[in-house]
Assembly symmetry: C2
Homo-oligomer: 575 residues x 2
């Protein structure tokens, strides 16, 4: 059932393989992490010939399961030096699943110059020369590919940053309208793709909802039930559909855990100016959209379409991006944020890492905090590959080293996202311990810390955060394997029917009889494989810590420090 497309970039050969039995019931992150674990030498150079780039749709991708279009991208990260999985929406996951492709494995490295494109269609898989696409931004590459291969194709691509093998480069794919803005952004996997000299993968499937189902009727009933569960929850049924993820801006600001001025303060006086509410108002006034689906079949529709003053369109501006370029840099303008976001999308850069890096550069005094035009100027240098442009795209840790900055908010070399660990300590535990490096999506404790979803754990106290993060990390690893958007977790955490309904869909699709226990075991197995890879790559408990300034610099307004003890952090993976 299904196949693996193996692309040898040294020999320029594509082989289509049967899926081994052991991978049959893995998808998304479970599959990328397991293949990386099984095939990549943990100590290899992330940009060398021994690393592999693995791309996989989730277990439910390509079916009518609501919001199941996530695409996982994995490999050894040039940013963290550890295993990496980053996932994104967009249409490629559904297209891949409908072509029967469980994974693409890109390996080796060309010895000579030249760029390539992998074309996947019902006729097979073919590696084509793509020198004409080299140097181009992702918007243009996607446009050219849609002209060349048809406007229904999914285009998985990298921008100039990935070609230059810069450690903040992501892998993007497009939404239904052709916007190359759905990023598997974190961890520099775009640089890995660049190191293989693979500029783009074009996925051309005639269908997107027709992945094989063992029991279609049972599946459809479960999918309908799952859509209802999502509709009924206030976050997935109301908050996200109304204002998208940026509905969080005012909430996190109010909670006093909105990292401002490179993690100096927990509130930003211009938060409302860059909030989801404001975004919706401006977007609609300019003929954009306050709500939008990043892939067909999403019921949450948390994306948006934000027209920029110059006529360009940024779709979407996510909360974490609005934070990275907004409060984090003391920039209170959605238009500046949108411009920086658009540039990152086109350059092929992770917006979070780039925003954190710009914050470190502002901390160093390279440009002033609040100076949006200067930030845009720095970012545009990436197109030219200037030394500064390269620094901006190499991650916060590298920028901190180059500019002698000690206040670098990064764990395992990856920049911290939009929730300060001193006033949302559950997220702090996740940042410190996730095999992915600092990553809010790896165990989103904002749920119980701030939103009171799935219970409540006081965000300012160390107690209970380790258990919270552990449970979330396990559940997340499972969700990341299904192809479901992680946001379904809001509803699943509060509705006892949530998880059984997901399992009902999987069981109906594959003819299996997975239980909730199996699901949690799958989550644990993923984390075990990822931890084992990192262990062999040289990670220790010393890597499972936050930067020291979070332990001695209190965060206003709550004036708390991060005080979850190291010995407790070491208990996160005690299963």
């Amino acid at each position: 059932m299904g196949k693996i497309v193996r692309v040898d970039m040294t020999a320029k050969k594509v082989i289509v393989e049967e899926v081994p039995e052991k991978y049959q019931l893995l998808g998304g992150r479970a599959l990328t992490s397991q293949i990386v674990h099984d095939e990549v030498p943990p100590t290899c150079h992330p940009l060398g010939p021994y690393n592999k780039l693995v791309i996989a749709p989730g277990l439910l991708s390509g079916t009518p399961a609501p919001s199941s279009g996530r695409l996982s991208v994995g490999g050894k990260s040039p940013l963290t030096g550890g295993i990496k999985e980053a996932n994104a929406g967009g249409i490629s996951s559904q297209e891949l699943a409908n072509l029967g492709i469980k994974a693409i494995v890109v390996e080796g490295r060309p010895r000579e110059e030249g760029w390539y494109l992998l074309w996947l269609s019902p006729e097979g898989a073919e590696l084509l020369p793509a020198d004409d696409l080299a140097g181009k931004g992702t918007y243009e590459v996607t446009k050219i590919c849609r002209q060349r291969f048809g406007d229904k194709v999914g285009v998985i691509t990298i921008g100039p940053a990935g070609e230059m093998m810069l450690a903040a480069a992501g892998v993007t794919n497009n939404d239904p309208e052709g916007n190359s803005s759905r990023y598997a952004g974190r961890g520099g996997l775009g640089a890995v793709m660049g190191s293989k000299r693979l500029k783009a993968i074009v996925v051309d499937s005639p269908s997107i909802f027709d992945a094989p189902l063992k029991d279609p009727d049972r599946f459809k009933a479960a999918a309908r039930r799952f859509a209802d569960i999502l509709h009924q929850h206030p976050v997935t049924g109301q908050g996200l559909p109304a204002y998208g993820t940026n509905v969080l801006m005012n909430i996190i600001n109010e909670a006093g855990t909105l990292p401002t001025r490179n993690f100096r303060f927990g509130r930003f006086d211009k938060a409302a100016e860059v909030s989801g509410e404001k975004l919706a108002e401006v977007a609609v006034a300019r003929g954009g959209l306050a709500t939008h689906a990043c892939h067909p079949g999403c019921v949450m529709r948390c994306s948006n379409v934000y027209p920029l003053p110059d006529g360009k369109v940024c779709a979407p501006i996510e909360y974490e991006t609005a934070w990275a370029f907004g409060p984090n840099l003391e920039i209170g303008s959605l238009d500046i944020i949108g411009e920086l976001n658009y540039l990152c999308n086109d350059l092929g850069l992770d917006t979070i890492e780039t925003g954190v890096t710009l914050g470190v550069l502002m901390e160093a005094g390279v440009i002033p905090f609040g100076d949006g035009e200067a930030a845009i100027r720095l970012l545009k240098e990436v197109y030219q590959g200037t030394p500064m442009g390269r620094i901006v795209s190499s991650g916060a840790a590298a920028a901190g080293r180059i500019f002698g900055v000690t206040r670098v908010p990064a764990v395992k070399g990856q920049g911290l996202p939009a929730y300060d660990p001193r006033a949302c300590k559950g997220n702090g535990v996740t940042y410190a311990t996730s095999p992915m490096g600092a990553d809010h999506t790896a165990g989103y404790a904002v749920t119980a810390n701030i939103l009171k979803v799935g219970g409540y754990v006081d965000p300012l106290k160390p107690e209970g955060q380790v258990d919270l993060s552990r449970n979330l990390q396990i559940a997340t690893a499972f969700i990341d394997s299904t192809g479901l958007c992680l946001f379904v977790a809001f509803a699943v955490l509060d509705n006892p029917e949530g998880l059984p309904t997901i399992l009902e869909m999987i069981n109906a699709q594959y003819g299996t009889s997975l239980t909730a226990e199996d699901a949690m075991e799958m989550g644990k197995n993923i984390l075990r494989a990822e931890r084992e890879f990192n262990l062999r790559a040289g990670f220790t408990r010393a890597d499972d810590r936050l930067p020291e300034f979070f332990t001695y610099e209190p965060l206003p307004p709550h004036n708390t420090v991060f005080d979850v003890p190291g010995e407790e952090l070491d208990q996160v993976f005690n299963f």
Copy 2:
């Protein structure tokens, strides 16, 4: 006996402490590494308030023991993230010992702007404002300090690179003529000093040979015997005194292990042009010196004074520097090498790390191989603190990341020195496993691999290299603690009277009865403390490996790869 000068840069307070019993018989590297081990949290930020800079003369420094003027500088390295000791000649070690100072410990970090100078004299220790020295090169700082405090003082200082906290910054001190060119260069300890905002330490002792001796007659007899031993060996008595360390250029080239063009080839067709023989010829013709002592009482006098065409004087050009800027960059001009060396001395940069970084930048195509003028231009950018200047000074690993280069010759983040590990495999073992990162001085297997000193181990075969490196690392750690120049090892390895005579001097000085076994135990204890620090800092066996390209890219002319198995490397510290 002796005292520790503890400088609290947060409070701007100097405290002079008695030396605890446990440190009484430690000196140099033994003392810096033990204090760092005992007092510095291994996971702290190297440029943050919790790191400490420790400076210590050796056990024999300040006595008439020949060639005993090495000064050790230690701390947590911003380059490697591990423990670091770097040592240098120059006059400060002898001055410190004659003031009865066993160690200077610089701790804390000022919260406000401003630079400081520590003045040590028979009257005591005083912290003085030094804003007028900020931004100045080391030559000028040393000149000003000698004008201000007298021309006999030792000036321990950092250049602009250290002030900017760049990871390739070293700590320098001056030779008897006032040249600030004796570098504790490796590992970025200059950046640690910069992070403390300590621009310089002025050591003003009325004597340099009068450190207390329990039994002066016995000591003098042993010292005379030791001088004889050094005079009698061909390397310490003839090779080094005639042509300095750069006598190695032709030898290492002939051996086919001279890393050329960023470690692509093992021979350089212009090696003779940049050799010690050529250097002596040019230096003497221009009124310089082919031979020179970096501190009073050195009998090997392996330093030199090389006048540059524009009238500046570079003293000395060492072999590793000539290699780093010569064969490594395919530059065949001693004048270019001298100019780059002079710039590094003035900027306060480690020449090896800077040369390896320039090699990586040439590999990236930033400037062409062989283009000396372009290299000088890049290096001069450090004065301005441009992005490129900062990259040049941040180490090869950071430059590799910024420019997407996979052929980065570095271990634990520190660039490899002047002996290719594929054709001098004993050095490869040392590079891989030393707690210091890639460091030829930590276990100089060139002795038995190439020079046939202390036996012979075939440099091209993996057999015997682990034992060779282990023994040398232990012996080196001991030597590094005595204040003796490591070059005495050439004679000591071949003369059974060597080690007993060193111990006789120590025993006569301290009234002890140390045996050869005690000396080796001291060496082992140092390595144990350093390894334990690194372990707690997060190092694993994955860090004890060479970059992967050395394992699959054969080095001409011998066409060997580095093939000492990982499991054997893990046995280096099995004592």
